[in-house]
């Protein structure tokens, strides 16, 4: 039933795009414009709208690139499959997708690649057989290092005791980042990590654990929370304890959720990936491939103003350090995501 519908739909699409193609073919031959499709998980999501802004920026910079920003209305793999089908018939040159499902999109993306379309995934990956390269917003090592740097930046001379407020004790992401953070600590000799506590990504438990930290380690100067629930709760607990200015909260959080903490002074700066840079870099990566660069382990590809990305054994690359937000830019980004 659904299969029939999809068939009918793609037939209809093919029909209309054949017409469109007749026109497009003429203009493409004239300008040799590179059409890069940026596929979002869903439309109307601030994060992806911001990524589109970055993609447009990259297109403008490169010159002969046209961005087709599209995506399904809900975050479903089915919706993205239909979108990709229509992009194939539109004969785009490259597809850069943030996938709703790692595996479900593989067949349709394989079909796209068979037609000569370059496929990269970004933000949320597709399995390796369904894309040529994947762009991660950052890497675990970069995130760990950034957390160290944020803690050091919050201290007047980079010296003092710090503590970590994590999610659950078994959470893979946070544990990896904390391990990377500890690995990077020798680079910041002033930092003294005294405790790691777990708020379970519940605001009340995170708040209570922060209160506990303030009591058991009154000399802790920075609380690093690499979780968006924890960082908000910790900032509120520090504010309520009247310790703004003595204890700083930092870590990974979203600008819209952290704007209040930055205004109150409980947080000086925090980090998260920048969706604008991510859209920009994904566009550049797709463009590199269209221009004949090969995506292979060890290859170094240009990301324009973001520098270069080096692909690992799984053809995956990390864009950059997480982006730092402070009082100078948090309000601007709070409107975005």
């Amino acid at each position: 039933m659904t299969r029939l519908r999809t068939l009918a739909l793609s037939a209809a699409l093919a029909g209309t795009t054949a017409l469109a193609g007749a026109f497009a073919g003429a203009s493409a031959a004239r300008a040799a414009e590179v059409k890069i499709a940026l596929v979002a998980k869903s439309l109307g999501n601030g994060f992806f709208e911001a990524a589109d802004k970055g993609a447009e920026e990259a297109a403008k910079q490169i010159g002969d690139v046209k961005i087709v920003y599209t995506g399904p209305t809900t975050t479903t793999a089915e919706g993205q499959i239909e979108v990709v089908n229509s992009l194939i018939s539109q004969k785009v040159d490259a597809i850069a997708i943030s996938a709703n499902d790692k595996d479900a999109l593989v067949p349709v993306l394989k079909r796209a690649m068979a037609r000569g379309i370059k496929v990269v995934s970004w933000d949320s990956a597709v399995s390796s057989e369904g894309r040529m390269a994947h762009l991660n917003p950052s890497s675990n090592a970069l995130i760990g290092n950034m957390l160290d740097k944020l803690a050091a930046d919050a201290l007047p001379d980079g010296k003092g005791k710090i503590a970590i407020l994590s999610a659950t004790a078994t959470s893979t992401n946070q544990n990896t980042w904390i391990a990377e953070m500890k690995k990077g600590l020798p680079k910041y000799p002033g930092l003294d990590l005294v405790a790691t506590v777990y708020g379970d990504d519940l605001s009340d438990k995170s708040y209570r654990e922060t209160q506990g930290l303030l009591q058991t380690h009154p000399d802790v100067k920075v609380i690093v929370a690499p979780t968006s629930v924890g960082i908000v709760a910790a900032a509120q607990a520090v504010k309520d304890a009247g310790k703004v200015g003595q204890v700083f909260v930092t870590g990974l959080g979203l600008p819209s959720e952290m704007a209040g903490a930055v205004h109150s002074g409980a947080t000086k700066s925090f980090a998260i990936w920048n969706p604008i840079d991510l859209g920009y870099s994904a566009t550049y990566l797709a463009y590199d491939l269209v221009k004949g660069e090969k995506a292979a382990p060890g290859a170094e590809l240009s990301l324009g103003r973001m520098g270069k990305v080096k692909l690992d054994d799984g053809d995956e690359g990390a864009m950059a350090d997480p982006f730092v937000y402070d009082s100078s830019n948090v309000d601007k980004f709070a409107k975005v995501f």
Binding site: L202, D204, R208, Q215, T216, Q236, A259, A334
Partner: protein, 347 residues
Amino acid sequence: MSAASPPRAPDGVDLRAFLARREMLLVVALAALLAVVATRFPSFVTPRSLGGVFNDTSILIVMALGQAAVILTRSVDLSVAANVALTGMTVALIDAHHPGVPLALLVATALGLGLLLGAVNGALVWLLGIPPIVVTLGTLTIYRGLAFVLSGGAWINSFQFTPAFLSVPRAEVIGVPVLSWTAVAAVALAVVVFGRTGVGRSWYAVGGNPTAAVYAGIDAGRARFLAFCFSGLLSGLCGYLWVARYAVAYVDVASGFELDVIAACVIGGVSIAGGIGSVGGAVLGALFLGTIKNALPVVNVSPFAQMAISGAIIIAAVALNTRAERRRGRIILRPGASRPAPAAVAE
């Protein structure tokens, strides 16, 4: 508080009888707990720190009182935390989008909406005769789902609230935050309702012996309905308090908190089988759980052990409860009375 207690043990200075009373046992346990914590972290027992613990536990106390009413009637309300999430989200959205709405109106909205949600539970239990655990398991999902529908999954963050919304529960009156005073007021209300009103006494009657309650002219369904309303009302209030305290509203607010609330009641000696329990017990149960929650982080217990400790205490409390009930039940209900009881409830 004695008015709210179940039939008094005969007066006398028998130490065993004294300790057998749950409130006394809890006070002793609480004191012992504080003493143990104090050996590892002395400043935990300073008045200021204990005030902080009480303030942190206020929401749990208020919700435990509502839950105690429901449990007294042989029911259980699993939807209380979802009620907090939905009412909290509602008042947060109103405050964020219409900053001109006075706080008093917002609190009234929270109370009203909470009462409505409780009444829905109560009505389903009363009129359709669906078991309370099933009803509230359903409404738990519905209420949280509605919070998602209302917010579209977005967070309401601290800077979107009006200053008054966030500051009132924190404001200090005679050195104690309004949040703590709210808990005190709720306890006072509960003492009156449980002990001095017909409704409160009917909860004990319906839970203790439904058959006898019906013969005494008590409408068991109505009593249960009102218990759910009481629980909903208090949960609604906590919806506002929770959001204001943590300065953030999102769909997963208070996720899993209903289990803490039920645990507080159970630790406080409110019998899951109904009919037994007191305001003092529920408050002490909440305080005991709250103290543990606050003490574990400062005594530096591993997060895995924390869960095990909380669980062990709940099991111990239930074991005590069943012992208390067995003595009571075997003697009074045995001769034929316990058999027809379920049939009478079903009517």
